[in-house]
């Protein structure tokens, strides 16, 4: 450890009932210790500094850690505190976790932008984004514990060590618990900077990489976990909106007077894209919504038919003029020119919807003077930390307080802020009164923001030795990076590669959907690799093995998955297996599935799924497995069942009866996950399972039937059609 430039003033802290707050940050004046008897003062102080962690130590021995990330089931409420507690040497049984305030300059991660800190729980980047700063903060906290004990005992610092929740002086046999240390805490004259070598070495970890039960789970089995939809405030009123089925259409309300006359209706509010109603009670608001007679001025989406658009996309893909080039290595055209064999295929995918189980909602209270607001919301946060509310209300960002609640699923949908600003707009109509805005499930689907529909034209070529020499990928679709992510093949040895995007626009709302473009793109790529393997008379695993010679970490996942599935061994009658590989958010994973097909009904059944992944250091192995299980099941759901269609510009689906998602009877017998041991920094895992599924199923289907499935989802009708082809 080397001392920081600026020495710190020595401070002594008084014993208080609330314990002390320990702020750990990046600037020279931090860390600081504050008495918790005055909560306001603590909060004010927190707001002044750039912190990486804020921990409260209480006199009864609890260590309260503030979690900066949203919790939507991915386990951040546990994983980030685990990292801190590991380095601090806190006793995990005494750790409590609460959400930190939503102030990005303080609690944000450096992982999103080089210019500023951002609080955003997306792209599977929470653990990787906070790993280093949380470790260092924990190590500083431990240092302060040791320093304070050394001063108290009047012994050299080097003789003081820690055990979980305690400081020890082995020479004299003295020890004090963290609780006993609270009144003794003081900061050193100069706080040393933590070097990497001061951190625990992985073999000494007792929390990271071990099975630590998730902190949020007890409240999720007794019904006490609070989601924004559960909020109740005195005098709260309810808002619902009628948005229609055509994205962007603008409404004219024909029966305003009749709606206003309805029981409990307080206000009718005309928005650009919707008509809102505010009522005393929820059921009154919903009744009023049902009774609205609205005429809609058509939008850009007018006349759009999603299933007809593929023909147009085909023509676009055939245009000799290239689109926006995304990848260009070597010379694909030249490779094609000298190829021994060429391959070409189109892959299609329909729109899919997030279907997070908690419909969108928020609670907002705008102050009576309209100068400040409080927002209770389940949000994946965002680059705009105040979720668009200050702009909407025309007030300063610091006057908006965001109270983050648990998210009943995010999957990308809750990194949009439309539902938050809608609620603020309604709450502004009744200043001083809290307003709960609820999207019905029908609203949530019809006015969804979907994973874009796209067409992908893949071409490839091999030389006389059967080596893959060229690979080209043309995406046609709407949404920029939403369709482009996952287009790179960095772990396959292919010398000549080309990828491009050709833009189409339809006025349909689009958004990141768990793993973004990786879903459709990895489907197309992994199926194409399989088609080439088949064309060259090679086993699909063996063919990939050769391609992965340049990437030992990728290869290790392939070998492990093949070993788990006993690839090449006997497969039960009527079943077959398929493989797919991908990289997402830094994690490498290979998946193998075993399926069967009912040839009469066209129903595909997934029986088993094996996957092996290299995600760097794994903070919570059981949680990573849970993420893979859930991600793979969501993948199976989307690949076999999910489809939003648009006719005449209108979304055709409205609830789980016409947008079915995977149910209990459709789950595989098992999903098995192997984590490959690694000392590399942690990578994101939340999105590594979902995009494995399409390729693995389609490739298994080929192995079983000799036919190719090239259009997602693989509905029974499409399966029957493929079988007939």
């Amino acid at each position: 450890m080397k001392p920081l430039q600026k020495p710190l003033a020595r401070r002594q802290f008084l014993k208080t009932s609330g314990g002390v707050a320990l702020f750990i940050g990046v600037s020279g004046i931090l860390p600081q210790l504050w008495s918790c008897s005055d909560k306001r003062a603590v909060e004010k102080e927190v707001l002044k500094h750039r912190l990486t962690a804020w921990v409260q130590l209480t006199g009864d021995g609890r260590v309260i850690i503030y979690n900066p990330a949203a919790e939507m089931g991915q386990g951040s409420m546990t994983s980030l505190p685990v990292i801190f507690a590991e380095e601090m040497d806190a006793d995990w049984d005494r750790v409590e976790v609460v959400f930190s305030p939503q102030v990005a300059t303080i609690y944000g991660s450096d992982g999103w932008s080089t210019e500023r800190k951002v609080m955003l729980s997306a792209g599977s980047r929470i653990t990787s984004g906070y790993f280093n700063s949380m470790r260092k903060a924990g190590a500083q906290a431990r240092y302060i514990m040791r320093h304070s004990a050394a001063t108290h005992w009047d012994v050299p610092l080097s003789e003081v060590t820690t055990a979980p929740g305690r400081v020890l002086h082995p020479q004299s046999g003295r020890s004090l618990s963290f609780a006993q240390m609270v009144p003794l805490l003081q900061l050193p004259e100069a706080l040393p900077e933590v070097a990497d070598s001061d951190l625990k070495s992985p073999e000494d970890f007792r929390l990271i990489g071990k099975v630590v039960p998730r902190t949020d789970i007890p409240s999720k089995v007794d019904g006490s976990a609070r989601f924004a939809i559960d909020l109740q405030l005195p005098g709260m009123r309810y808002a619902v909106l009628e948005r229609g089925a055509m994205h962007g259409a603008s409404p004219t309300l024909e029966n305003r007077e009749a709606i206003l006359a309805m029981e409990g209706v307080l206000k009718v509010v005309l928005l650009e894209h919707a008509v809102g109603v505010l009522a005393t009670r929820l059921e009154q608001a919903l009744e009023a919504k049902k009774a609205m007679k609205i005429s809609w001025a058509p939008s850009m989406a007018n006349g759009f038919n999603s299933q007809d658009t593929f023909k147009e996309y085909e023509v676009m893909a055939g245009n000799p003029q290239a689109g926006r080039v995304l990848v260009e290595t070597g010379n694909f055209k030249a490779a094609m020119g000298s190829a021994a064999k060429t391959y070409s295929a189109d892959f299609l995918n329909d729109y899919v919807y997030h279907a997070q189980m908690e419909p969108l909602n928020a609670v907002v209270q705008v102050a009576e003077d309209l100068l400040s607001a409080r927002v209770w919301v389940g949000s994946q946060q965002g680059f705009d930390e105040k979720l668009g509310v200050p702009q909407l209300l025309g007030i300063a960002p610091e006057n908006v307080t965001i109270e983050l609640q648990y998210l009943g699923g995010g999957f990308g949908r809750r990194s949009m802020t439309d539902f938050v600003t809608e609620c603020a707009g309604m709450a502004r109509e009744v200043p001083g009164t809290p307003v709960k805005l609820l999207w019905t499930r029908e609203d949530d689907i019809r006015y969804g923001a979907f994973r874009p529909l796209s067409l992908q034209r893949l071409q490839a070529c091999t030389d006389t030795h059967g080596k893959l020499t060229g690979f080209s990928h043309c995406i046609v679709g709407d949404g920029g990076n939403l369709v482009a992510s996952g287009i790179r093949n960095e772990h396959y040895d292919i010398p000549n590669q080309f990828a491009e995007w050709r833009e189409a626009t339809h006025g349909i709302r689009l958004k990141h959907w768990r793993s973004v473009g990786h879903g459709p793109n990895k489907f197309a790529i992994e199926c194409m690799i399989d088609e080439i393997a088949a064309g060259e008379g090679r086993d699909p695993v063996d063919f990939r093995r050769q391609l992965m010679a340049i990437s030992p970490r990728a290869l290790a996942t392939l070998e492990k998955a093949a070993e788990m599935a006993r690839w090449g061994g006997a497969v039960p009658d009527g079943r077959a297996r398929g493989v797919a590989f991908l990289e997402r958010s830094g994690t490498l994973s290979t998946g193998i599935c075993e399926i069967s097909v009912d040839r009469a009904s066209g129903l595909i059944r997934v029986h088993r799924f094996w996957n092996a992944l290299d995600a760097g250091i794994v903070v919570q192995p059981d949680n990573v497995k849970a993420q893979m299980e859930g991600g793979i099941l969501m993948g199976i759901s989307s690949v076999l069942k999910e489809q939003v269609t648009i006719e005449g510009g209108k979304v055709q689906q409205s609830n789980f009866n016409d947008y079915p998602i995977l149910r209990m009877q459709e789950v595989p017998e098992s999903v098995e996950t192997a984590l490959i041991a690694s000392g590399e920094p942690p990578q994101g895992v939340g999105e590594s399972g979902t995009p494995l599924v399409a390729g693995a199923i389609a490739n298994a289907f080929f192995s079983l039937t000799g036919k190719r499935l090239r259009h997602l989802p693989f509905t029974p009708a499409r399966v029957l059609e493929a079988l007939k082809s």
Partner: protein, 162 residues
Amino acid sequence: MPMPVYTLHINGETRTAEVPGGTSLLWVIREHLGLMGTKYGCGIAQCGACTLHVDGDPVRACVLSVEQASKGQKIVTIEGLSTDGRHPVQKAWIEAQAPQCGYCQSGQIMQAVALLQTTPHPTRDEIKRYMNGNLCRCGTYLRILEAIEIASGRMDTQSGSS
């Protein structure tokens, strides 16, 4: 215009709600009585998030009107399942680390408790069939299965307590 008053027996208490006739039981117990553990997911009996017990049977509160539920029946919600979250099924749920976002889990647990009350040792297929109406977007189904099997394994010693 005065609204009718309905009397409900929920979690061992008698509660009243002044709501328009036809209001769904789900809105009554959530927004009027403040029992927020029972969730709204679809409103049309497709997802099971709103599952609670009416005289011991698992019922979708979203499609039950307040009239239908105020005829003296005993209603139990997740909050009334145990006083301390230590019902054997809840304990099994923690052991299996089943929830992810958690939103569907009250409904899943209420459905599973009803299953084990009538069939203490269900087969895997029986579990899957019985639980098929409860959606989980986070894909925790395999852990829900595991949790039910854990709880079922303890039914002999625990019988009568649920």
